[in-house]
């Protein structure tokens, strides 16, 4: 038999390859978001699609989302990912996209509350009963405490963690930048796992049992409690934390090219609606709407929080001083130790 066997198989494979991927005609919207918002946007995307259909004579749309470390997601949009909207962990990452001309300057003023429809803060998640007695930022620097946090170079949440600790140290008696740098150095030496994103850190702490304390988004800490039962972990509120305002905006160049501006803008506006705010609260983000916040009751206890503007003069300054190449994080963090 001289005939060559797989020829027919090859032809079959080629025919299969000619079938186009995802041959759907539904208009789609892509939300490029950060790590811990997966559950929130899964629920919100469905809610928005229903809302849009109701408002637009039954037009069906499909909202996709992509999740990862906030910094790397911004990088992907800069590299050409066709995001219609970005909902990232911090304004700085949105600003990085705006600097490349993909988003108009002044985007932050386009929506209420600095374009942050919900807020969060940084809390501690400890093992049940808090066996190491970790009450405040200073305790994290103690000998023998294992700290889990993501890497500030790639994760938005990690930058909030870092700045919250810094702000606390500055406000202690005799506090200064030098004292803050010293404290951060000691905390970072206690870090057992430095994941690239917030969710990776949560998995390390919760699932793989790494470390004594996870520095986490408040929403991420509550989600871990919900997923794994309240019996295993405690949420500890430090005496001072930072008000995190995750920013959302339309990616102007992409929506103009794709013709999706109207639906993209409606999507973001819907985050501020009672339904959007209630979904945010359900997923443990602090809603802006006072009524929804009050209805959530004891889930969001009042907490002493500084803002990035008052404590650090805004993200551009904070980024330059702490996370850019040669910033305080580079000076402090020596992984080989």
């Amino acid at each position: 038999m001289a005939a060559f066997l797989p020829r027919r198989a090859l032809l079959g494979a080629a025919a299969l390859a000619a079938v186009p991927a995802g041959a759907q005609s539904l208009p789609t919207l892509l939300n490029v978001s950060y790590d811990p918002t997966r559950e929130l946007y899964r629920a919100f995307n469905a809610a928005f699609a229903a809302h849009w259909a109701k408002e637009n004579g039954g037009q069906r749309i499909r909202v996709n989302s992509s999740h990862g470390g906030s910094g790397s997601q911004a990088r992907a949009v800069i590299d050409g990912q066709q995001a219609d909207v970005v909902t990232l962990a911090l304004a700085y990452d949105v600003e990085a996209i705006a600097e490349r001309g993909l988003i108009d300057k002044g985007w932050m003023g386009r929506l209420p509350h600095n374009s942050a429809p919900y807020t969060s803060t940084i809390v501690f998640l400890t093992r049940k009963g808090n066996p190491k007695g970790l009450r405040d930022w200073g305790d994290l620097a103690k000998e023998g405490v294992g700290v889990v946090t993501p890497n500030p170079k790639t994760s938005g949440g990690a930058r909030w963690n870092y700045l919250a600790a810094w702000a606390w140290a500055q406000r202690q008696p005799g506090g200064s930048d030098a004292a803050a740098e010293e404290l951060l150095g000691r905390i970072l030496r206690n870090v057992t796992v430095l994941d690239t994103g917030a969710r990776g850190s949560t998995t390390s702490f919760v699932q793989r049992g790494q470390g004594d304390v996870l520095l986490a988004w408040e929403n991420e800490a509550h989600l871990a409690l919900k997923e794994f039962g309240a019996g295993q972990f405690d949420i500890v509120l430090p005496s001072l934390s930072i008000l995190a305002e995750p920013s959302v905006t339309v990616v102007d160049r992409n929506v103009d090219r794709r013709g999706t501006r109207a639906v993209a803008e409606a999507y973001l506006r819907h985050l501020y609606s009672p339904e959007g705010q209630a979904l945010a609260a359900q997923h443990f983000y602090r809603p802006r709407d006072a009524g929804v916040l009050a209805a959530a009751g004891g889930v969001f206890p009042p907490l002493n929080m500084v803002t990035i503007d008052e404590a650090f003069g805004g993200w551009a300054e904070a980024q330059k001083a702490h996370f850019a190449d040669g910033g305080s994080f580079d000076r402090i963090y020596r992984p080989s130790r």
Partner: protein, 278 residues
């Protein structure tokens, strides 16, 4: 039992080697594989089946099969061409070509992915040109295929080259003296001589194409239901605390690989028997 002279007098060495090999295989292969399947079924068949029924899972499975269905034929043709050049001809720069063929084996897959972002990304060399024409390569199917083709290129070529070199050129030369054209001699002499090795290479290439994570992760963009292949989807499920679903999809991927390897073993047996008959 017949032993070779080299091992006849050293049963201790022989048994140590056997026990060590079995131990290593158990710890590093059998146990993890068993763990994948136990985890997948820990919450029952229903949960596992529900995981496959999820539209995002189906999209990931289809995308993985589609990417492999494009990348494997491309690499089969490319691999045959490369092996043919290297094994049957002498030309300047041949060593360089061999090194290039093997390059994807030595470069980290993450770097392979990043290279494509640098070339085809919006800020890359060709990015602006492509964007003006509305062509999306990175964060879409073409990027996934490119990255997979790059990473799996060496499999076919590497399996064919040693065999083709060993066979030499005599049969082709004989064909030429009998008046065969280049294409005839390739089709009637060269290919039949290497077809079993070729199938082995294709199957290995396929197994890797379906399982590739690093390079694909960089160029995917991780859009749910759109650009997530099975390995990426497994990571996402795991990160969303859906452990049973994650392992259910992982078990399916492992099964695909096992079927591939099983087919390869069967083929090797079959080809061995044929050679004896011949």
């Amino acid at each position: 039992m017949i032993s070779s002279p080299a091992t006849r007098d050293r049963p201790l060495t022989r048994w140590t080697a056997v026990i060590l090999a079995v131990l290593l295989l158990t710890v590093f292969l059998a146990l993890p594989l068993a763990a994948v399947f136990t985890e997948a079924l820990r919450r029952g068949w229903e949960t596992a089946l529900a995981a496959y029924a999820d539209p995002d899972a189906q999209s990931a499975i289809m995308l993985t099969l589609l990417v492999a269905a494009i990348a494997v034929p491309v690499n089969t043709l490319g691999g045959i061409a490369a092996a043919w050049c290297v094994a049957k001809y002498e030309f300047p720069g041949k060593r360089l070509l061999v090194a290039l063929i093997e390059l994807p084996f030595s470069v980290s897959p993450v770097i392979s992915g990043m290279v494509f972002v640098l070339v085809f990304g919006a800020q890359g060399w060709l990015g602006p040109w492509l964007q003006e024409r509305g062509v999306q390569i990175i964060f879409a199917l073409p990027g996934l295929v490119l990255a997979t083709v790059f990473v799996t290129f060496p499999f076919v070529a590497r399996t064919l080259i040693p065999l083709m070199q060993e066979q030499g050129r005599t049969e082709e030369e004989a064909a030429a003296t009998l008046g065969a054209s280049g294409w005839q001699s390739f089709r009637l002499v060269t290919l039949p001589n290497v077809k079993w090795a070729l199938l082995t290479g294709v199957l290995l290439c396929n197994a890797r194409a379906m399982g590739e994570f690093g390079a694909v992760s960089v160029v995917s963009g991780h859009i749910r239901g759109e650009t997530n292949t099975m390995p990426l989807y497994i990571e996402i499920l795991y990160n969303e605390y859906q452990f049973a679903a994650a392992f259910a999809v992982a078990a399916l991927l492992a099964l695909l690989a096992l079927v591939t390897l099983f087919a390869k073993t069967l083929l090797e047996r079959f080809s061995g028997r044929r050679r004896e008959i011949a």
